[in-house]
Amino acid sequence: MRELLRAAFVIARRDFTATVLSRTFLLFLLGPLFPFLMVGVFGAATAPMSATESLPVGVVATSAEFQKIEQARDQLQDTFGPLGVVKLKRIDPAGSSQGKSARQKGQPGYVAVLEGGLANPQLYGSVSAQSGIAKQLRLMIGQARQTAGSAQPVHLPVMLTNPSPTAPNAGGQEFTARAGQSLLFLLTILLAGMLLSQLIEEKSNKVIEVLAAAVPVDAIFLGKLLAMLAASLAGIAVWATAGAAALEIFAPNGLGALPPPAVGWPLFVLFGVIYFAMSYLLLGSIFLGIGAHASSAREVQTLSMPVTMAQVVIFAIASIAIGNPNGKGALGAMFFPLSSPYVMIARAGELPDLWIHGLAVVWQLLWVALFLRIASGIFRKNVLKSGPTRATRRKSARV
């Protein structure tokens, strides 16, 4: 095992250096322009818009107060149209247990709950203070106060609640989960494909035989995977830094406007890195198996296309889990190794439980090891069957 890791490190070091110090790496760093565009398109296409917008905000208020807020809402709707304006539903303060229950259980049936009336409004829910819902409610309360003859500025504190597993927050956290999942998928697809070209290049260089004679094939594959993972993470670090700097310059509150994930931002980012590594290793090990089987770039394209398409389907399945992370479909996708990282990053966005992430990483690592063994087995079977072809002989005879 020690020798395997040592050999993998030697190969990874060379591959990483060769990749990162190449001119093409600069082009690679420009890559996110495309995936970010795709994130927008994908996220928009797969997001169940109606789920977020059909759930109302529960308003614990007297009938009179609710009417004022509702009137303000109607004015807002007159201005902006019905699609973008949050719906309101009154919760009778007399049945205070109903309001309390709505708060404590994560507002089943409500995207959030507004309490305290016009005088002392407080918003309970898994939405951020900068979310569209909170902003709209501030406008409504302000307008309602004006109607009531008060020009007092609106202060609307938002009390973050844990989403209910049975009725998860259909608002901000779902968006965060979906964004994280989409980003993970696109980065994986983009970066794992690089492995294929690496292995094909290696085979055309004839270096592969030198490597295979010196170190175990498993070490070659592991080294290549780790090198490309490290190169990808280097790229992501550059992109993240550039993105953060851009946000800082152009939209100082840009990150703050994103709804906070259930596990909080630091852990969510950490899980993002971990699950990217896992999905990359899983897909990368499959691509390595394909690269071992193929002998030309054309063959690689033919063979990898079904895997890429299957991956899109897997992503679509994983995205269904958003909104119902404990449902049967979500659990099934969690166990299926290729969709597991996507489901888990979405789960981190929606649910605060942590222990399950440890289990998931171990589970995914087991599959990485299995895929690597299979890929190296395919490699042994399909390459280096015999000496060079006659064409190669002719070529080598040219002095």
Partner: protein, 321 residues
């Protein structure tokens, strides 16, 4: 079924032992029951025409591919990859990273074989200087001539001072100057006690360098032993020119003798040269010239592997201008 090396099952005096190695690919049997014994510290040649199974045999010995059946022991290990740090391998299809410079290319190959990278770099510098490539040490390999690139790969094969060097068709594509240089390298390493195995389809190289050879034809070992033993498979050839054309001496000329350009050519009889000489003198042949020639490895190869294999060996690589 592979076994761990034990004194009972493997002979410690051999650097490499193989027993009944078989390799089946889907379409054909590439190697069919090859057994080899390579004494430690010897130069061992694997002879055979293209497609005979030499490369597949070497790859099995190195553990790059697993045999379908049979077993092998390399430097005391039945899993050759475990001895990889003590082995240097130059494949027939040369492989280097074109964007790496010569120094890093050699050092990388040393690091693969267990060297610390900084030590491998130092050794690479030394080897490049010794081989007049010091000025090219930091140039990308893609900028090197083919001969230089081959030398760089050879140095990468030797950088970690292996105990066993395996070279697959090492002379292929080299000009005569570099062939001579490579022969000196092989002899030099062998003089230091290193075992060298190389495959070739050029008999002259094996004849010049090898103490022991194995002749492989159609995936089978047709001969395994010393070069002299291979030659001894054939009787020495007698070339005789006489002043007299007929006489009693003719009785000592074998019936299958041929006459070319006034010269009798026949195998030396089992009784040896003395009775032949006596019969010729006593019979009044009037010996003009008499030569008893030891057969070359080529003749031995023809006798051992067959004419077809010999013709395949003789077919030169297709050279293009």
């Amino acid at each position: 079924m592979l076994r761990q090396a034990t004194p009972q099952s493997w002979t410690s005096g051999y650097a490499v032992e193989a027993r009944n190695l078989v390799k089946d690919f889907a379409e054909k049997r590439a190697v069919d029951g090859v057994s080899l014994e390579v004494p430690a510290g010897s130069i061992f040649g694997l002879l055979g025409p293209n497609g005979a199974g030499k490369t597949t045999t070497l790859r099995m010995l190195l553990g790059i591919i697993e045999p379908s059946s049979g077993e092998r022991c390399v430097l005391g290990r039945t899993r050759p990859i475990e001895a990889a740090h003590q082995i240097g391998y130059l494949p027939e299809e040369r492989g280097l990273y074109p964007s790496m410079n010569a120094r890093e290319g050699i050092a990388f190959m040393g690091a693969l074989r267990g060297m610390h990278l900084s030590a491998a770099r130092k050794k690479a510098d030394q080897l490049l200087e010794e081989n007049d490539l010091g000025d090219w040490a930091r140039k990308p390999i893609r900028n090197l001539s083919k001969g230089m690139a081959q030398t760089v790969q050879l140095l990468g094969t030797l950088v970690h001072d292996p105990r066993l060097i395996i070279l697959d068709e090492p002379f292929s594509g080299l000009d005569p100057f570099n062939q001579g240089k490579l022969e000196r390298v092989i002899r030099g390493r062998a003089a230091d006690g290193v075992t060298v195995i190389f495959s070739t389809h050029v008999i002259a190289h094996a004849e010049r360098l090898c103490e022991q050879i194995a002749i492989i034809a159609a995936g089978k070992v047709a001969f395994n032993g010393q070069v002299d033993e291979a030659r001894a498979k054939l009787r020495p050839i007698v070339r005789l020119r006489t002043r007299e054309t007929d006489g009693a001496w003719r009785s000592c000329i074998p019936a299958d003798a041929t006459k070319e350009g006034g010269e009798w050519i026949f195998e030396l009889p089992q009784s040896g040269p003395e009775p032949l000489l006596k019969a010729l003198i006593d019979g009044g042949a009037g010996i003009e010239t008499l030569a008893i020639e030891r057969p070359g490895l080529h003749e031995a190869f023809v006798a051992i592997a067959g004419d077809a294999a010999a013709k395949a060996m003789d077919t030169p690589e297709e050279m293009t201008p």
